[in-house]
Structures are given as C-alpha cells and as structure tokens.
Point group: C2
Chain length 205, copies 2
DNA sequence: CCATCATTTCGTACAGCGTACGAAGACGAT
DNA sequence: ATCGTCTTCGTACGCTGTACGAAATGATGG
C-alpha cells in the first residue's frame, strides 16, 4: 500500500467534513469531530488546514467542484441554463455553504466554474465585460434563490404567521392567503433565469 | 421616569446586539457582550429571548424594519425598484444577516415587507399568484446579489487567483483579465432587477 | 403593614468550541 | 548512528450558549 494513500490531505479532510455536515448538520462538523472520523488527532488537521475557516473554504470548493458540468451543450442559453440549474441543485442540498461563502475566498473550482461559464458564452457576440456581467448576474440569482429556498424550508413558523394575519394588520397578505393558499410559482427559478439570459442577449445586440 | 423605560425588552436587546454587530462584527455580539452593553446579567436576556437564534431572528427582523419604505411611489415598477434597492442596501451593510436568515423564521417586519410589495403591485392586472411569484423572484435576486457582493468584498484572494491564472489552466478567464482588468458591470443589480420586472409584466399580459 | 404570590433578575456550572504551543515520532540523507 | 525536516498530536486557555435554581423585586389582598 502506497504511503500517500493513508496520508491526510486538505481534500480528504474536506471530504470527511462534508460527509459529517451532510449527515449531522454543518455545526456537527467541528475540528474534533472531523479528526475523530479520520482517526487522527485533532491538531493533526492543522498541518493541512490553516484554520477552521480554511477548512470551510475547502469544503465550499469541493462543492463548487460538484457544480461543474462534465460537458457543455452547444447552445449558449442551454449551457448557461444547465450550469445554473446544477449549481442551484448543489447549494440547495448544502445551504450552510451559502453562509460559508462569506468567510471563504473563491478556490480552484470556483475559478473553474467561471471558466466554464465563459466557455458557454464563447461563441456569442458579447464583449468580455458583457459576459462577465451576465454570468455574475446569473450567479447572483442562483445563490439568492437557493438561500431563500433553504431559509423558507427550514424556518417557516406557520402558527406565528397565521396569528399575525388574523390581527388584520396585513390586509393584502391575508387576502392572498385567504383565498386558497396561494404560493409563488414553483418554476420561478427557471423563469427568472430565462429573463436574465434574455436581457443579457439584448445588451449584446 | 416610567419604569417600563428602564426595563428590558426583546426589541431593546435586539437593538443593542445590532449596534455591537455593526461596530465589532457579528461574532462579537455574544450573549455576554450584549448583556454587558445593557448593564445586565447575561442570563437576564433569556427572560425575553428564548435562545441565541431567537435573538438573531429579532435582529434580522429589526433590519427588515429598516428595509421598509415610508411611502410608496405610484408607479408599480418604481415602487418595486425602490423597495428592492432599499432592501439591498440594508443587507449590503449587514451581510451576517443573510446567514441568519437560515436559522430565523420571518418576523413581523418580514411580513410587512411582503405586504408592502403586494401594495406596490395592487393596481396591476396581475393575479395574486403572479404577484407572489414576482415579489419572490425579486427578493431572490436582491438577497443573492447582496450575498455575493458581500462575499466578494470580504474575501478575494488576489494573490492565489493570479498564481492560478498564470498556470494556464484558465485560458478564457486569463484572457478576460489579461486585457485590462475587466469587471462585471457595476449596475448589474439594477439591470437584472429591471429584467425580472419586465418578465413579470409579460407574464401578466 | 404584612403575607403571599407572580414576575423578573442573575450567579454558578458545564460541555463544547477553535487553536497556540511545544514535545514527540517518523523518515530520508549522510 | 546522527542529523534535519516533515508530520503527528496532547495539553491547556479562553471563549461560547445555556440549564438550573436561588434571589430580588413588585403587585395584590387581608
């Protein structure tokens, strides 16, 4: 058995932490817990990872790796659409990673993600700046939707909301929910995406 | 002096915590620190606040209060635009609140925010579901842009990125940044917003 | 004025966190 | 066998949220 196989590495640590975060929640992925999972002393991790935030950055980047498309559709709209949908799916599954973005600088896979977006837009007539703007805008929307979907999923307090509606302080809201439980359209994500892509191409012309 | 003035309250605790988070960062706003600021025993806070997450929810809701518009422009586009811009500005200033969304159910002011959006859309011909979808989509984009702007602001590692670009692994990215430091358009937020609003009205017709 | 009771305050203690520090083990080269 | 570097990790410190129960405070009825 090669020695490198049994050795630790930044990636292996990140993978172990990711597995724990998935199974037991992000907060369970403490340095001690990760070390235990790898059958290693806690402080050993610090040889490969500068700090906990650094580990989180590695986890985040592993996720961005999952968001990469193995191959790109020819049509640039389809391509951008699929990148966005895949990225979205990844972060819907790992909402804590959205939080982590705030303390983790972009890593290798984040750069690959941007590279892939540029590749998708390669054959359009957009200027570099237009491409940049479009991909940034799309990612804004992707992460935003994922964030709010995760938040809504985790934390609606129906009891409190119903009580407030009953006070009459929110007439329009009450009307909206009174007449048969109206919710936002399920495919608003795809619709919004399409709108942003359309606007991007209009810029270009 | 009235006794109620010197008494604690959920709001006053949230306000104190908010002040600390602004001055010294979100992580500095610990229960002990907040209590000290209010000249009160740490555990006294727990009479008004069930848990730390509950306090965070209160802070978040106070912020949503700041995002409310005192008065609404007549034109529904302008109105939605201004609500979005104001909300955006608030969360750009308090990026930690985006994180907090994941563990805090929507409070009173969040409901007021939605009510205000419905009010902005009251005179359009949209159905309730269309209104709901539009305001949800807009908020997705608003929070997403704020999140990514805050992340980019806090954590770009220019040195690492430059080193990676130099390896030649990112030809298109290198080309984009090689020819004169191209960045995404500064007003992509407003442009994106407009695109989403336009799409919303197209749905309606 | 005192007794009684609910409301409000908070001191102590505990388990868990990230990590600074430095000792110890493992290993290749001379 | 010895040195030097790479890798491991045990201990300890200061911080966190908060469970628990005792104390202080304020209002109420006799």
């Amino acid at each position: 058995m090669s020695r490198t196989e049994s050795r630790l590495s930044r990636q292996k640590i990140a993978a172990a932490a990711l597995a724990i975060a998935d199974k037991e929640g992000f907060e369970a992925a403490s340095m001690r817990r990760v070390a235990q999972e790898l059958k290693v002393g806690t402080m050993s991790l610090y040889y490969y990872v500068k700090t906990k935030d650094d580990l989180i950055a590695a986890m985040d980047d592993a996720l961005m790796g999952e968001a990469l498309l193995p191959s790109l559709p020819r049509d640039w709209r389809r391509a951008m659409m699929e990148i966005a949908k895949r990225t979205h799916a990844v972060f819907i599954r790992h909402p804590w990673a959205l939080v982590a973005m705030l303390s983790a600088p972009p890593g290798l896979n984040a750069m690959r993600h941007i590279e892939q977006c540029f590749e998708a837009l390669a054959e359009t007539s957009m200027t570099t700046q237009q491409k940049m703007t479009l991909l940034a805008t799309v990612d804004d929307f992707v992460f935003g939707h994922a964030l709010r979907a995760a938040a809504a999923d985790a934390t609606i307090d129906a009891e409190f909301a119903a009580a407030q509606l009953a006070t009459g302080a929110f007439p329009r809201l009450a009307a909206a929910f009174g007449g048969g439980r109206v919710e936002a359209n399920k495919d608003r994500f795809e619709r919004g995406l399409r709108a942003l892509l359309d606007a991007g191409v209009n810029e270009a012309s």
